[in-house]
């Protein structure tokens, strides 16, 4: 098993702390390394990795720490976005203490992939806010300190109807975000109804492969990670 990156510097009051879902993505990427290594085999150009909603930065730091194991090559370029600028700073710190800080381009504050140039991203990784909730928090800062903390943590968790409102926005732009060789890794919980979602995506020409799952409750997998690509 590959070591888990150090994120002990994060402030759990303002940044989502690595949890079971984060670790499942690390395991899923590790399990899918043969696919990644063959798809991005050198001399193909350096893959550009975009993580959405980096939070602590644990996933990006994991990728930066293990390029050869995961991609079969030492060169990657990593970009991250998060709507929470405190999380962006935490991500920068997590990347800085990996063995390969040269692989990171930037961590920027943004709404998902809105500032990313079309068709540049080779690998998109997203641990979304997937918990069903009455609504999705606004992106604007709250004046009150306590309310602001509450908003920042809700941004990392609350996914609106079926917990899918944010992930659906990523799907809408997926064709525009990914490059011709692009692949997305996205986590789902059972409430997101992943089987229905995948059927819908397949109807739009995407291939969907389950690359990780965790915990069964009454026969239903609680968390799954899917590779979505063309």
């Amino acid at each position: 098993m590959l070591p888990t990156p150090d994120t002990s510097h994060i402030d759990p009051d303002t940044t989502y702390e690595p949890n079971t879902d984060s670790y499942l993505i690390l395991d899923s990427l590790t399990a899918d390394a043969p696919f990644l290594s063959s798809r991005f085999k050198a001399p193909a150009p350096t893959p550009l990795i975009l993580e959405l909603g980096t939070g602590s930065g644990i996933i990006s730091a994991f990728i930066a720490s293990n390029p050869v194991t995961l991609f079969g090559r030492p060169d990657l370029l990593l970009l991250g976005t998060d709507a929470n600028s405190i999380a962006c700073a935490a991500t920068n710190q997590s990347l800085k203490i990996t063995p390969n800080p040269h692989l990171q381009l930037a961590s920027v504050t943004a709404d998902l992939a809105t500032p990313i140039r079309p068709n540049e991203v080779d690998v998109l990784v997203f641990n979304p806010p997937y918990v069903p909730s009455p609504d999705v928090p606004k992106l604007g800062k709250h004046e009150d300190g306590y309310e602001e903390q509450f908003r920042l943590l809700a941004l990392a968790c609350d996914g609106g109807a079926d917990g899918m409102e944010v992930t659906r926005r990523v799907f809408e732009g997926l064709g525009e975000t990914l490059s011709a060789r692009g692949v997305a890794y996205i986590l789902f919980c059972a409430s997101n109804k992943p089987d229905e979602v995948m059927e819908e995506l397949q109807g739009k020409g995407w291939s969907c492969v389950k690359v990780g799952d965790l915990g069964k409750k009454g026969g239903i997998e609680k968390l799954t990670v899917w590779r979505i690509y063309k």
Binding site: P74, S85, L105, T109, L139
Partner: protein, 124 residues
């Protein structure tokens, strides 16, 4: 944020995404820091094909790096070129300033090395 970031980002305003004026975003009042990192020749050589060269030359020049050739170097790179690219692409961080869209003129602030692309409500 590293200078090369501008190769992969553009204005967050939807209408600007297809405009050639929005790329690359232009740095304004940029404050740079150099962070010493070990020179990795392979890395520099490997990422070259992934770089949109004219955009990088333009961005670099605006920050005072004027030694880049106007066309992308190919084949064996000489030692000085590797060193220059390492300084520019790996060691230089922009820690404050703005990124400005050449199409809509919207300014994105950079604070402590983090650019903020969240848009005010009227631009979403």
């Amino acid at each position: 944020m590293k200078i090369l970031t501008t190769n992969y980002i553009t204005c967050a305003v939807k209408a600007c995404k297809t405009s050639s004026n929005a790329f690359p975003l232009q740095f304004r009042d940029a404050e740079l820091v150099q962070e010493e990192l070990e020179l990795n020749e392979e890395f520099i050589k490997n990422i070259l094909p992934r770089i949109e060269w004219p955009a990088l030359v333009q961005t670099a020049a605006s920050l005072g790096f004027t030694t880049l050739p106007s066309t992308k170097p190919e084949g064996d790179l000489d030692e000085q070129m590797i060193k220059d690219l390492h300084t520019l692409l790996v060691e230089t961080q922009v820690i404050s300033g703005k990124l400005v869209c050449g199409n809509c003129q919207h300014e994105y602030n950079i604070h402590q090395g983090i650019a903020n692309f969240l848009l005010p409500n009227h631009l979403v």
